[in-house]
């Protein structure tokens, strides 16, 4: 057997091995988390852990509902802010702006995407927190420390925007020119073309981008925990503090190990996070497939 064939075989097997490793890693993480959070699952029922709001580790009460709700609130609001901004600016840049503007903006967006999250956190503390406290909340008739769900969502949105925007620009640019020309020559205005054809054509891409944005937002930790207040409660409005799961883990892991089961509780928090992201990704992959089938 000659060397070329040997190398070929080796390369194929090695690639297969690496792919298996990636999947195995995910399984290992899951198994590790389940193993580590087992003690708390023995002591408390799953429904108590997931649906109770009482969080008092000293007394052995571990209800995660406040954390779960904070996590979802911040994720959803940040996407509600980021998505329209991204879609409209990406559309403007691709469809309407002169090419030169896109050439300037695209590298800037990439720089923003690469800024470490702790810097967004500091910026949030310095700029957004006072702005919310002194101007925005009073305007709506609320008093707040400024460390709240809205601030967290805003900081998160600002972090998600560059990533989503870059992807959306690519998605929009992939629409063939002939399709635009044909739509216009049927008598569509520019806006009708964008709304009825370009966005529709891009729907799978737009959805995939949004899914990626949400995945990033759910897990983002540092920047959020710096501005969100970290108070264990179910936030009743956007100006109240919250405490999302990643912040809980990052703030407490490695401390207070003397409290029984606290360690296991934090592991369980990580497990919830992983489960949410896995479920979310699988669900969205399924939906994406259906949409792609029915449109393109």
């Amino acid at each position: 057997m000659n060397l070329r064939i040997l190398i070929d075989r080796f390369a194929c097997r090695f690639s297969a091995f690496l792919s298996v490793c990636c999947v195995a890693l995910l399984a290992l993480i899951a198994v590790g988390l389940i193993y580590k959070s087992w003690p708390i699952l023995l002591e408390h029922s799953l429904s108590e852990l997931l649906f109770s709001t009482i969080w008092s580790p000293m007394k052995g009460k571990f209800g995660f509902l406040s954390f779960i709700i904070s996590t979802f609130q911040i994720t959803i609001f940040s996407l509600l802010i980021a998505f329209p901004i991204c879609l409209l600016s990406a559309t403007y840049l691709v469809e309407l702006a002169p090419r030169s503007i896109l050439k300037i903006v695209l590298p800037l967006i990439d720089i923003l995407a690469g800024v470490p999250s702790v810097i967004y956190g500091i910026w949030g503390v310095l700029m957004i927190v006072p702005c919310i406290r002194d101007h925005i909340a009073p305007f709506f008739g609320y008093t707040t420390s400024g460390y709240c769900i809205l601030t967290g969502s805003l900081v998160l949105a600002i972090m998600v925007v560059p990533v989503m925007m870059h992807l959306l620009i690519q998605v929009l640019q992939a629409v063939p020119h002939e399709l635009r020309d044909s739509t216009l020559s049927l008598g569509a205005t520019h806006w009708q073309m964008i709304k009825l054809v370009v966005w529709r054509k891009c729907l799978p891409g737009i959805m995939a981008t949004t899914i990626l944005g949400i995945s990033k937002a759910i897990g983002e930790t540092i920047a959020v925990l710096m501005v969100v207040g970290n108070v264990v409660q179910i936030p009743k409005n956007l100006f109240e503090s919250g405490y999302p799961l990643p912040a809980l883990i990052a703030n407490n892991y490695g401390e207070m190990l003397s409290i029984p089961q606290y360690d296991a509780a934090l592991m369980f928090a990580a497990l919830i996070l992983l489960a949410v992201i896995l479920f979310f990704n699988m669900a969205s992959a399924y939906i994406l497939k259906r949409v792609t089938k029915s449109i393109t």
């Binding site: 002169p98 090419r99 063939p176 002939e178 399709l179 635009r180 020309d181 044909s182 739509t183 216009l184 020559s185 049927l186 008598g187 569509a188 205005t189 009708q192 009825l196 054809v197 529709r200 054509k201 729907l203 029915s294 449109i295 393109t296």
Partner: protein
């Protein structure tokens, strides 16, 4: 020639950046006939076609001077509303461009844009123009399927039906069969032969045999200029210009 041309062009120059793409184009297209525009690729055929419905303006850095007249009106002066200009012309692109929606929604897309809402009228017109594009028999029982499910040849006929449905006066085609198999090409060509009774058809093609089969008149372009224009028979059998002779004889391509 004729007295009231549908579509005429006078002293048209198009620059993109600092390159001159079209040089002093003057022509009156014959009404209700197929005029083929032939010439080697890159000579400006697509650009010329796009000046006629002002799609060329969407390219960056274009500068257009001169007139394109439709029924005597200069489209660069008199049409504030581009959509009403484009209603007068159907465009068939080089590759099929099905819109990301159902077959039916594709055909009636233009009609809906122009404000026709009555479902009964829409359905009637959809059938009428799908028949003209000889696609009705193949799709009538699956009008709600996505248009992308059709074969490439069917997609192109769908695009033809979609363009016809807005009831234009002029049909602009840019190498409409270049992506198609021979049988689909033949069906499209047959449609053109019928359509020329009622429409003024401008057909860009790089297939000389297609021009021979279909065209009543032929325009030969070279490097952004119109070299020769005349009845198809004359151009093919007795061209006056040396360049035309060479192109038709296959010497330049």
């Amino acid at each position: 020639m004729q007295i009231n041309p549908h579509l005429g062009i006078s002293q048209l120059n198009v620059h993109i950046g600092d390159q001159q793409i079209l040089k002093n184009i003057n022509i009156n297209f014959p009404n209700k006939a197929i005029t083929a525009i032939i010439g080697p690729s890159g000579c400006g055929k697509t650009t010329l076609l796009k000046t006629m419905n002002r799609l060329i303006e969407n390219s960056r850095g274009v500068n257009i001077t001169g007139k394109v007249l439709i029924n005597g009106q200069n489209i660069y002066d008199d049409y504030e509303d581009l959509t009403s200009l484009r209603k007068k012309m159907g465009l068939l692109a080089q590759r099929p461009t099905p819109l990301p929606m159902s077959i039916y929604a594709n055909v009636v897309f233009g009609l809906k844009l122009h404000g026709i809402k009555d479902e009964k009228i829409l359905q009637e017109k959809a059938e009428k123009y799908l028949r003209i594009a000889s696609l009705w028999d193949e799709v009538h029982d699956r009008m709600r399927d996505p248009a992308s499910k059709l074969s490439i040849g069917q997609q192109q006929r769908l695009c033809l039906a979609r363009g016809l449905a807005i009831e234009p006066e002029i049909i602009l085609c840019d190498e409409p069969t270049s992506a198609l198999d021979p049988i689909s090409s033949k069906k499209i060509e047959e449609s053109f032969n019928e359509l020329k009774q009622e429409y003024t058809i401008i057909l860009v093609t790089h297939i000389l045999r297609q021009a021979r089969r279909l065209a009543d008149y032929v325009v030969f372009m070279y490097l952004g200029e119109i070299i020769e224009f005349g009845p198809a028979k004359e151009i093919f059998e007795n061209p006056k210009e040396q360049l035309t002779k060479e192109y038709i004889g296959g010497l330049i391509s």
